[in-house]
Structure formats: structure tokens, C-alpha cells
């Protein structure tokens, strides 16, 4: 009897102890990685320690996971006119399709922590999944007869979610374009606001106008750099960033203003920064530990900024510890956009495409623009393609240029780059072929595409057929 009780006490104590240790490891944050059940995808590995970003509720099942997906990706999907929205699959007429592939939930196709079965775009289904519903595609598109179902996504032709890049009418409209257009300029590089648009009334500032108190001045260079920057030109003084709450707390001085301060003016830039690989760790709501979660034992702790050491693509050895914040590329006070367009990228990235840039025809244009040989807007930098400018209008029709800081935005698939960038200078046929040629991408577009995407020929065939039918 006594033995039995001792056993019981021992088992209970062991279990309780185990649970307590596990809880401390989990809620404490730092030791959480032992709970990772498999290598996280490259889309999520940066935030894998913020478990509840995805596991929004420990016992919530698939709906709790779905909530996590939608929190970060919902707006993006809406903006992409998702071709397979949830609404299509909750519709009873598609119940038979849902039985085959439950596309109401993201995790049906995107299972996390499953490195063995994870394909491009973090899809964990066999790559020919389109066949599950679209077996009969050749009935209406004879050109597609016999095509393997794992080629639907080639060259950006078809995507499950985002099909804005390419569609038949778009190809039809642009199939005849020459490889190089007549005017070779990045369209928005010379943008000026419309003449009738009211301009913000701000007075440009000079070094003497600097309003930092004497004991906060720091190096002279700071003031000198600022005086030459866009901030001074736009009338943004020292206090604009260092005293963000000047009106309510006139004595406060923020030594190193963070992204939140930048975001008060550069809202869209800051938001898109947290949507891409550079700034995703700084997105709101990502926690490694929370004070409220476990008896108040732990502090509220978020994720520190991304560093090249955490990256899964080749990076410069001497950059491993560089933390990625706004100032990493934009350098405080100077805010040199030229540096941010090429040098900043090169200082961390060490993959073939980046390393080949200086020898590329695009960089030759940058050099010729710098020497005055070519007009402003001729050069094509890293940022031209990966952080392109967008012309946006607000609800009152006010035009504005905004530079997306989500470097991923036009890479999934890379054909999304056609409209936002390539089409300014290149014809569609040339562009599609180039973007589908991995060797050409690797050497940073030095040479002509060796790959040819046939779909543009199919479109031409259909146009000819239609013309023939109309003549009859």
C-alpha cells in the first residue's frame, strides 16, 4: 500500500514537473525552438519563435491556424484578387471539390514545418495539384492538350492566388512589342505632382535652422548631413524625428528614433517594409514571450530585427551582425537614397545575381546616367526592380509616389515585375523569356534570353484563328 502511494506521488510529481519545465521553456521564449517539429519554411523561419503568430490558440484547431494566416496574408490576398478565394469553396455547389481539396483552409496546401514535402511558394501538395479540378482544361484550350499539370505555373502563366501578372488579353495587347522600346526610361523616376495639385506649405530649412538643443547636437556632421537631406528640404527639423511628442512632452529627446517614428510620415513605406523579408520581424503583434501569459514571470519580448546571420541565402561574411532597420540602408541624417539603391543591398547580399550586378547592362546605364551621358531615369538599380515606385491616388484623387519596401511583392511570381518595372523599357515577349531564364537571372541579365515561353505563340495562334473565322 505504501509503495503504491509512493509510486503515485512520484509519477504525479514527475508529470507536474515536466509540464512546469515545458511551460517555462515555452513561455520564457528563449528555449522555444525545442518545440519546433520540423524546419520552418523560408517564408516563416524568421518569425518561427513567435509561435502564436500562427498558433493563435493552442486548442483552436484548424480555425485558429487559419486566423493566423489571414492576419498577415488576408489583405494581400484581397489586393491580389485571389483567384481561389474562400468564398468559392464555402459555396455548396463546390462541396464535391472541397471533398477532394479543402481549399477553404490555407493549411490544406501550405503545411508548415514539413521540409520533406515543401515545394516552391511553400506548397506542400504534389506540384500537379491543378489536375484535381481542372482535368478538362484542353476542352476549351486545345493548345493545352497534353501539357503536364506540374507546368501550369511555369513562367508565371497561372497561379493559384495571384493572377494579375499575366492573362490572355494582356498578352494579346502586347505580343508584338519590340525587345527594346523607343524611350528607355524608368517611367516614374521623373514624376512630379500634377500642377493643379495643392502642395504642402513647408519651408525648406538650412543648417542654421536646426532646432536641436545645444547639449543634444552631437557631431557636427549630423547637422551638415541633415541640412543636405530631403528632410531639411521638406522642412522637417531635428525635433521632427527626435521629439516625436514635442507638443505633449517638450523635454523628451529620443536618441535613436525607430521605425515607428519614420512611419508617422512614411506610412506606406514602413508598412510594406514589415510585409517583406527585411522587416517582417518588426511587424506588430509578434511576441516571443508575454508578461500576461504565465504568472507574470516573463517580460513582454518581441523579435529583434533581422540580421544577415539569420538569412538562408548567401550573405557577406562581414555583415552577419548587421541589424536591419530603416537606418541600415538609409543611414541616419543623410538619408542618401542613392546609397540605398545599390550599395546598401551589396553590403549584405552575396548571391550570384547581386554579385553580377556591377557587370550588368542595367548598371552600365546607372554609370552613364551618373556621368551625364544619359538623362535622369535611365539607370536601373537594385531598387528599381525590387522596390519599385508606385503612383498612388488617395480617395480625394491626390497623387503620390510611394516606394514599396516589400522586396517580395513582385517576385511571387517574378512575372509581376513586368508591369511594375520591365515594361517601361522592354517588350513583353523579351521580358517573359528573360524572367523564365534562370541562367540569365543569375548573371543579372547580361545577354539575351536563351529560353522561350511558348504561351505568347499560342495567343498569337488564337488571334490568327479568330481573324480567319471572322473573315469567313
Amino acid at each position: 500500500m505504501r509503495n503504491k502511494i509512493l509510486w503515485l506521488v512520484w509519477v504525479t510529481a514527475t508529470l507536474a514537473g515536466g509540464v512546469a519545465v515545458a511551460a517555462v521553456m515555452y513561455y520564457g521564449g528563449d528555449l522555444r525552438s525545442v518545440f519546433l517539429i520540423g524546419k520552418t519554411t523560408s517564408g516563416h523561419h524568421q518569425i518561427e519563435m513567435a509561435c502564436d503568430a500562427c498558433h493563435t490558440d493552442m486548442f483552436g484547431g484548424i480555425d485558429a491556424l487559419q486566423k493566423g494566416c489571414v492576419t498577415c496574408h488576408g489583405d494581400e490576398l484581397k489586393a491580389a484578387n485571389d483567384s481561389h478565394p474562400r468564398s468559392k469553396f464555402v459555396d455548396p455547389r463546390n462541396a464535391d471539390r472541397v471533398a477532394v481539396l479543402d481549399a477553404r483552409y490555407c493549411v490544406t496546401c501550405h503545411r508548415e514545418h514539413q521540409p520533406g514535402i515543401t515545394n516552391a511558394m511553400a506548397v506542400t501538395l504534389p506540384t500537379d495539384y491543378c489536375a484535381l479540378c481542372h482535368q478538362d482544361v484542353a476542352k476549351n484550350r486545345p493548345s493545352h492538350e497534353g501539357l503536364a499539370f506540374d507546368t501550369c505555373g511555369n513562367s508565371g502563366c497561372h497561379n493559384f492566388h495571384d493572377n494579375r501578372a499575366l492573362y490572355e488579353d494582356f498578352l494579346e495587347k502586347r505580343h508584338g512589342e519590340p525587345d527594346f522600346k523607343e524611350i528607355l526610361l524608368v517611367a516614374l523616376s521623373n514624376w512630379t505632382p500634377p500642377a493643379d495639385q495643392p502642395k504642402p506649405a513647408r519651408k525648406a530649412l538650412a543648417a542654421l535652422d536646426a532646432d536641436a538643443p545645444a547639449d543634444r547636437r552631437g557631431a557636427l556632421k549630423h547637422t551638415a548631413d541633415w541640412a543636405l537631406s530631403g528632410h531639411a528640404a521638406a522642412g522637417v527639423n531635428c525635433s521632427g524625428c527626435h521629439q516625436p511628442r514635442k507638443r505633449t512632452r517638450p523635454d523628451e529627446w529620443v536618441e535613436a528614433p525607430g521605425a515607428k517614428v519614420c512611419a508617422t510620415c512614411h506610412t506606406a513605406e514602413a508598412k510594406t517594409f514589415t510585409e517583406g523579408k527585411h522587416g517582417m520581424r518588426q511587424r506588430d503583434g509578434l511576441w516571443v514571450s508575454r508578461k500576461d501569459d504565465f504568472l507574470g514571470l516573463f517580460e513582454d519580448k518581441g523579435l529583434p530585427p533581422m540580421t544577415p546571420a539569420l538569412a538562408r541565402i548567401p550573405m557577406q561574411d562581414d555583415a552577419h551582425a548587421t541589424a536591419l532597420t530603416c537606418n541600415t540602408c538609409h543611414g541616419a541624417h543623410k538619408y542618401d537614397v542613392k546609397f540605398a539603391q545599390i550599395e546598401a543591398c551589396e553590403s549584405c547580399h552575396a548571391d550570384d545575381h547581386t554579385k553580377a550586378f556591377r557587370m550588368s547592362p542595367h548598371n552600365a546605364l546607372v554609370d552613364r546616367e551618373a556621368s551625364g551621358d544619359l538623362p535622369k531615369g535611365s539607370g536601373v538599380t537594385c531598387a528599381t526592380c525590387h522596390m519599385p515606385k508606385h503612383l498612388v491616388r488617395d480617395d480625394y484623387g491626390t497623387e503620390k509616389i510611394f516606394v514599396t519596401h516589400n522586396q517580395n511583392d513582385n517576385l511571387r511570381p517574378n512575372e509581376k515585375m513586368i508591369r511594375t518595372v520591365c515594361a517601361d523599357c522592354h517588350g513583353l515577349r523579351f521580358t517573359i523569356d528573360a524572367l523564365a531564364d534562370p541562367a540569365l537571372i543569375k548573371n543579372n541579365f547580361k545577354g539575351k534570353p536563351a529560353h522561350h515561353v511558348e504561351s505568347i505563340d499560342w495567343v498569337e495562334n488564337r488571334m490568327r484563328e479568330r481573324a480567319r473565322r471572322q473573315q469567313q
Partner: protein
């Protein structure tokens, strides 16, 4: 004094009883479908009314917006790629956006625009009732709707199909000229497709 109290008490009691009686006497909240008190709305009436709203809005958009601005005044085009081309969404797209909004807000009914001769092949009928319904309204030249029941994904649905008629020149012209249209001979007033409304039955 006691008399006053008694009067006050009886008044209070009376008032309470009155309120109670009103509460009990007011008609029980009408069960929408097939409720025992027969005060609910039949499935047919429910879908008829929904369809009336949908069809009216659809016709108004086609005539007052697309027909007027695109066909007649020629100040703007209507295009499938309305974002790229800064154009008006097609009537069918407007309809679908509405339908998607509804399905994000309720699961009490769903609806869509289908056709036996679809431009967008995803708008072809899929279930037996859809096929039957679309054939029925085409045969009857849209004079009466089709009602049926079907089981989908283990649930029972009341499904109504209403004719979608070429009510304005743009309907006919655009569909007859579209490269993906399987028919090029639609005429004014002809049934071009159907609105399918589904209501889960419990």
C-alpha cells in the same frame, strides 16, 4: 392608508400583467422557413424576393451605368480587366462581387450567375439541379422560375433558378462578340443564363 396601498399594489400588478400579456400575446417570432405556425416565409417566396432585388440592381447597373456611359455616351469602357484598363466592372463581375460579399457575411443563402453557354467556363452548371434548372428556364423562355431540392456535401438545399435575360443591347453585343463565348447568336429578350439561389434546409 391600507386602501391606498392596496390600490397602488393592484395598479402595479395590473401594469405588470399588461406588459406580460403584451409580451405573450405578440406573435411568436415568425420562423423563416416551414415553421409550424405557418407564419414563416416559404422558400419560394424567400428566393423570389431575393432574386427580385438582385435582378433589379443588375438591370439598373447594366442600363444606367454600363449602357449609358459605355455604349451611349462612350466616356468609359466596361472591361473584364477593369483595374488595368481603368474601366467599369462588367455586370457579371458586379454581381459576383456582391455574391462574394454576401457569402463572407452569412451562410443563410448563396447565389451565382451561371449559364449553359458561359464565357467563363467556371460559370457552367455543375450539379444536376443546376443543369435541370438552366434547361428548364431556357425552355420556358424565362416565364417561370425553377425550384428544386438537392443534397450537397451531406446537406440539403432548396435551390431556385431564375432566368437571366438579355435586357439591354450591351448584354447581347458583348456576349456575341466575346472570344470565349460559345454562342454568337443571342437576341434581345432571350434567356442568356440563370441566377441560382441556394438556401440550406434544416
Amino acid at each position: 392608508m391600507t386602501k391606498k396601498l392596496t390600490i397602488a399594489a393592484s395598479c402595479t400588478a395590473l401594469a405588470c400583467a399588461g406588459v406580460l400579456a403584451m409580451g405573450l400575446g405578440s406573435p411568436a417570432k415568425a420562423g423563416l422557413f416551414g415553421s409550424d405556425d405557418k407564419k414563416g416565409v416559404s422558400y419560394e417566396t424567400f428566393t423570389d424576393m431575393l432574386h427580385l432585388v438582385m435582378a433589379s440592381d443588375r438591370e439598373v447597373y447594366t442600363k444606367m451605368v454600363v449602357g449609358r456611359l459605355a455604349a451611349k455616351e462612350k466616356v468609359i469602357k466596361a472591361s473584364e480587366h477593369f483595374e488595368d484598363e481603368k474601366a467599369l466592372p462588367l455586370p457579371a463581375q458586379m454581381f459576383r462581387f456582391g455574391s462574394e460579399k454576401v457569402s463572407s457575411k452569412t451562410d443563410k443563402f448563396t447565389y451565382q450567375l451561371l449559364s449553359l453557354w458561359p464565357i467563363n467556363k467556371q460559370n457552367a452548371p455543375r450539379t444536376d439541379i443546376e443543369k435541370k434548372g438552366l434547361a428548364f428556364i431556357a425552355e420556358n423562355k424565362g416565364e417561370k422560375p425553377f425550384y428544386g431540392e438537392e443534397e450537397l456535401g451531406g446537406k440539403k438545399y432548396f435551390t431556385a433558378v431564375y432566368a437571366d435575360v438579355g435586357v439591354a443591347a450591351p448584354c447581347i453585343n458583348c456576349h456575341n462578340a466575346h472570344k470565349d463565348s460559345p454562342r454568337t447568336d443571342f437576341k434581345m429578350g432571350e434567356v442568356m443564363g440563370g441566377v441560382v439561389i441556394r438556401v440550406p434546409m434544416n
